[in-house]
């Protein structure tokens, strides 16, 4: 059973993550202690990564077979991730919806290629989404950029916006990043999440470009080890 815990309780969102990324996350403050306790509960309530994979595999396999119900389930579960990724890059509502629709058509077409031994379903879909966003930005002659997560306001036309559960993936990634040195977390966040170049990061942090690159590579390598070890010993992330 999926816990749905994140669907009903804010675990601190980007504020928490930035504290983690920039090395200011400590158990000293009440808020941090509360968040640590929340994460502990999350781990207890969440399915194991293997259970998550099994569920995900069934969805995309069913879609590959033409199961219409699985399409609806997949959208219910993952449309929020795709919508969030796209709306960090574009602010125009019609562009966002158009692009999200293109991404999911691509997902349906690619469903038969999903391999649960290589990634979670969310990661598989997120990879397609990210590629599409970058491609669209390059087609439009824009330098690919992503807005900070907290600037997210598209979709606010609906009352009662809901957070969706990315549960286990999120928890495992947080654990992996928590094991990194603060400077490694910082540059990985700026690169992978915010889409900044080595040069941009060096300018922003004052670190030499070579050091930025080294932090990213070593940090990613360590994170990959953690993710692999947590996902049932599978060979991929």
């Amino acid at each position: 059973m999926r816990s749905g815990f994140l669907a009903t309780q804010d675990v601190g969102g980007l504020t928490w993550f930035k504290q983690l990324a920039f090395g200011t996350f400590t158990a000293d403050s009440d808020r941090s202690a509360s968040l640590l306790a929340t994460l502990g509960r999350l781990r207890q309530l969440s399915m194991s990564p293997l259970e998550t994979k099994s569920e995900s595999e069934a969805l995309l396999t069913r879609i590959a077979r033409g199961d219409a119900e699985a399409v609806a389930e997949c959208l219910e579960r993952h449309a929020g991730i795709v919508w969030s990724i796209v709306s960090r890059a574009w602010k125009d509502y019609s562009t966002i919806e158009d692009l999200v629709q293109e991404i999911f058509i691509d997902v349906w077409k690619s469903a038969s290629r999903f391999d649960p031994a290589k990634s979670s379903e969310a990661t598989f879909i997120g990879t397609i989404a990210r590629r599409r966003v970058i491609d669209r930005q390059r087609q439009m002659g824009r330098r690919p950029t992503l807005e900070p997560i907290e600037d997210h306001d598209v979709g606010a036309e609906d009352q009662g916006l809901s957070q969706v559960d990315i549960g286990d993936d999120s928890t495992i990634v947080h654990e992996a990043l928590a094991e990194l040195k603060p400077e490694q977390r910082q540059v990985i966040m700026m690169s992978v999440v915010d889409g900044l170049t080595h040069f941009d990061i060096a300018t922003s942090t004052g670190l030499p470009v070579g050091t930025v690159k080294s932090h990213i590579r070593r940090g990613l390598s360590k994170a990959a080890d953690h993710l692999r070890s947590k996902q049932g010993g599978s060979s991929e992330v």
């Binding site: 609806a72 959208l75 709306s87 979709g155 036309e157 990634v173 992978v192």
Partner: protein
């Protein structure tokens, strides 16, 4: 196995990371394909995507109307695919 790109400290790593963060033009993309095998590139991309997706701690669901349209588009796609498949089968028969 972990992507070999993570132990690469040169051009291949730079290009693979840029492909994910800002995208590559055709020339750079061709260079990346020459420097790193498909398996390594995909493993590296999945790692970056996992970190990216996992960091989205606050996700906004699409509006209900948009979700409805996405579902309809998905069902239409499946229907068209099935019809195309049936049509192809008839040809073969």
């Amino acid at each position: 196995m972990k992507s070999n790109l993570l132990s690469n400290n040169g051009r291949a790593f730079d290009l693979a990371l840029e492909r994910f963060t800002i995208g590559l033009g055709p020339v750079d993309h061709a260079e990346l394909e020459a420097l790193a095998c498909d398996k390594d590139r995909k493993e590296f991309e999945l790692l970056l995507a996992a970190i990216h997706i996992g960091s989205l701690t606050h996700i906004v669901h699409p509006p209900a109307k948009a979700l409805g349209r996405l579902k309809r588009a998905g069902l239409e796609y499946l229907k068209a695919r099935d019809e195309e498949s049936d049509s192809g089968h008839d040809h073969m028969v």
